[in-house]
Amino acid sequence: MASMTGSSASKPEKTNIRYFFPKDPDKSGAKFSFLRRKKDLIEEAPVDEHKLKKWRTGEPSKGYARTKFHSQKIRAREKVFEKVAEKSARAELLCAEEQGSLEAEKTYQITQNDIRSTADEATQQKIFDLRLDQFGPYRLDYTRNGRHLVIGGAKGHVAAFDWQTKNLHCEINVMETVADVKWLHQETMFAVAQRKNVYIYDNQGIELHCLKHLDSALRLEFLPYHFLLVSASAKGYLSYLDVSIGKEISGICTKQGRLDILTVNPQSAIVHLGHPNGTVSLWTPNMKEPAAKILCHASCLRDVSVDASGNYMATTGMDRRLKIFDLRTYKELSRFQYNKRQCPGVLDFSQKGILAVSRENVVELYQDMTNQAYRPERPYLYHRCDRLIQDVMFCPYEDVLGIGHSLGFSSIVVPGSGEANFDALEANPFQSKSQRKQTEVRMLLDKVQPEMITLGGGIGEVDFKTAAELQEERNKTKFLKPSKIDFTPRHKMKGANKAGKIVQRKKGVQEQHMRAAVRDIVRTKQVEGRLNQRNSSRPGLPEGTSSLQRLKKKSA
């Protein structure tokens, strides 16, 4: 070993590391230069703590992992998360557009005419009415980027247009009842629920597909990240159709009668169905039963809507109530009772949380409804249409609400309803044709599988068992009995096939099996004994987890 220490002596001293370019690389040890950049040259301004708080996804872990290595790994990962939060907080500065607002003492007194008279020309163009009195009442749908609109009259009139430039894509009469219209992933295609089947048209009004297995559909929804067209039918069927491959992913017989209330949670892609008995049922394509059921009203349900964050649900019922639910706890947050003869009808949440509620021919707009303490006396805004309202929908990324009614379609301005800063990689109102094509390819590549639609326990969530659950599992295995084995021994010659011998052989095998099983049980007990000892000092475990517990008297 003597010469080994000699080689270690030639190492550079730790206290003073100097890297340099040797003139003659053959003669000296070091070959490379690692010039270290001074850290104090560039210093970023620190981000406000309250701004950071918004972007943090969770608290850093406090404890330690089983080994130091894993603890360090977790810490390193947490550093990355912190950096992401910091970068997001910094990026907030780049979101330049400001959210709309309306400030007055009595905002509900301000009409669309007042807004039109004071707003700029582009906004004035957004307030308009389409008088289509022959084919109403109308249903409507905006594209995800809020640029295009399709309206469908109950008597067969379907029109698609770019509502900002008022550029008509197509206008057709399908010569059938139209129950609902829905854009597919982009403005090139839309689906129309007609009397018998669902049809898909392109934006020139050419019929592309007739979906015969989605029969007598009443409501349509589209899940853009999964490419799923969801239809709820008059016969009580809920169907999921993958429009990218044209396959029906799942068809569920809900056994709940006519399904004319359908909405989708935009964050989890869970379908909410409203039923005449006052319940809302939550569905995924992977289960034949509802994932959850919520009894919302004591009477027939009118409409359901889920807000953009996916955390709140608003419902209206025939009992003249508007209720807000928290979907994380399934608890009612607040309820609003309407006066006699005023029954709230259709609902829609805007991106920024403004709730539109129709009652007969009036639309009421409420702000901040998901705040439990907020009890508005009057709505934020009113708008009165001429006839009964059939459908309302907020336009994404615009301060605009579209209203479909018996007399056609109205577009009104609701300041502060839309998201001011769009993300061009998700939805871009100003996208060019080439961008649209590229986005389509991207969307198809990133298509999320329908199996991943779950109510809790999705991807990225830790599926951990509590100590108590683990204990219970161990307790279960402890009393396991060895399984019986029954077999017919092989036929043997020369007197070995006598009845007694056969039984003997059989018994031998069975006993061997039994011994192995007993051995296993003994081993698990040994392991468990050690665990019990360790757990006895651990807080948080329920009483009676010890293996000796079963010997205690029940009454004690």
């Binding site: 990240y225 300041p415 590549l445 999320v448």
Partner: protein
């Protein structure tokens, strides 16, 4: 756009975007893409990332075509491969018929060849300057050959040293004009002297493989036929340490980034990495081969190494893991005896029994050639995604799947069964013995028989 009305007195601000702010000005610009990190605008982020990772993993397997070309021309079994410290494209190979060839990897052609020895060539190595190379053969000669910048080998050796004994291994010092040969004894040669200036012997058996350490340049590791690996220092008069293992070490390689680590390719189908400061326990054991491991070479990063197996496959290992990250086979490749990892960390060369030198990619699905910055970024993103989701069962399954020849597949299963049976037997024995009489022995110490100093 805020305005104040006089009649009802309210201030109004409505979203009204100017399209000119969001469209590119000219066709030569790139499209504007404003971003908003707000969470609710990005639903299913994890789901989509998972999908991307899954797609990336699938594409990785689709593009995994590691075999680049076969360098054919030798008329006998490949006996040695050598790389130059100063040239990337040139590689030397020697065959059993005494022929040495120099290959240009950029053109995939043989530049020149020379009949170097009578009988087989035992070993090759390049001179530290890169202008010469050395060869030893069955005719007991050590020959110096010049080779020009273009790769022309001189027709006559520059220098020949005649010996009595055959030398089986040769290696050149990293910085000085010293080279070392092994055979009946370990000899250190310097300068123009025709006699070794130092000769070591430790035990009776002959030595078959020798390698200089590239960092601690005076350190030598030698593999001997008596199942031992010996460490020598050329400045000392005798050996430093001798490690005796259960089975013979066929070849070994120093880690180019950690001077004190080396990996030994062993006859017991495994490889062992040792820290020379403590040879009692291997710092890692690498399983997966189902035949003797014939050769091993480190990547210049020191993070990975490649092995040649008697089981007709090449395996690539991460230094930190115990199992191979990839395996290369072809239908025609026979027993692989020699392996090289190129100095640019991109290619692997293998020399096998059926007279072929094969060129492989070091990362099977890597795109070769110029990669533009955006493409590079995309690849990096995919790598990160794959890493993030690597433990998800579906992704893991796809990433691990390899189509193996039937022989390897069944043999591996058999070996697995044998190991399980041994484990079970040991545990049974422990269970039925008095506690403490059957101790737990670490797998990494089992192969060490003795250490002498």
């Amino acid at each position: 756009m805020a305005t104040i009305s006089k009649k009802k007195s309210f201030s109004l601000k409505v979203l009204s975007r100017n399209p000119e702010d969001y469209r590119r000005e000219t066709k030569l610009d790139i499209h504007k893409a404003p971003q908003n990190p707000e969470t609710y605008l990005h639903p299913f982020t994890l789901g989509r990332e998972y999908q991307r990772a899954l797609n990336a993993t699938k594409l990785e397997r689709v593009f995994a075509k590691p075999f680049l070309c076969g360098l054919d021309g030798h008329r006998d079994t490949i006996q040695a491969l050598a790389k130059f410290p100063t040239r990337l494209a040139h590689v030397l190979s020697a065959a059993s018929d005494g022929e040495v060839r120099l290959w240009d990897l950029s053109t995939k052609k043989c530049v020149s060849s020379v009949a170097a020895h009578d009988g087989l060539v035992h070993s090759l190595c390049a001179h530290r300057s890169g202008q010469f190379f050395l060869s030893t053969g069955q005719d007991a000669n050590i020959k110096f050959w010049s080779c020009s910048e273009e790769g022309r080998i001189g027709s006559e050796p520059v220098r020949t040293i005649l010996n009595k004994n055959v030398y089986q291994g040769i290696d050149h010092h990293e910085k000085e004009d010293i080279f070392v040969t092994c055979g009946q004894s370990l000899d250190v040669w310097a300068g123009d002297r025709s006699q070794p200036y130092q000769s070591y012997k430790w035990g009776l058996d002959s030595m078959h493989y020798v390698k200089f350490n590239r960092i601690e340049t005076h350190l030598i590791a030698v593999a001997a036929d008596d199942r031992s690996v010996m460490l020598y220092d050329t400045r000392g008069g005798s050996g430093v340490q001798k490690l005796v293992m259960r089975m013979k070490t066929n070849s070994l390689c120093w880690n180019p980034m950690q001077a004190y680590m080396f990996t030994a390719a062993c006859d017991d189908f495994n490889l062992y990495t040792y820290d020379i400061r403590n040879l009692r326990i291997a710092s890692n054991k690498y399983e997966d081969h189902i035949g003797a491991v014939m050769d091993v070479d480190y990547a210049p990063t020191g993070k990975e190494f490649v092995t040649a197996g008697y089981d007709r496959c090449i395996r690539i290992f991460n230094v930190a893991d115990g199992h191979s990250r990839d395996v290369y086979t072809t239908k025609r490749m026979q027993r692989v005896n020699h392996i090289l990892w190129s100095m640019d960390n991109k290619y692997i060369l293998s020399g096998s029994d059926e007279m072929n030198v094969r060129l492989w990619k070091a990362r099977a699905s890597e795109k070769l050639g110029v990669i533009k910055p955006r493409e590079k970024t995309a690849f990096n993103t995919m790598e990160t995604l794959k890493k993030t989701f690597k433990d998800h069962p579906e992704i893991k399954r796809i990433a691990r799947h390899r189509h193996l020849p039937k022989l390897i597949y069944t043999q591996k299963k058999q070996i697995r069964e044998q190991k399980d049976a041994q484990k079970k037997k040991e545990s049974n024995r422990r269970f039925h013995s008095k506690p403490g009489t059957v101790p737990f022995v670490a797998d990494r110490t089992k192969q060490v028989v003795d250490i002498k100093e």
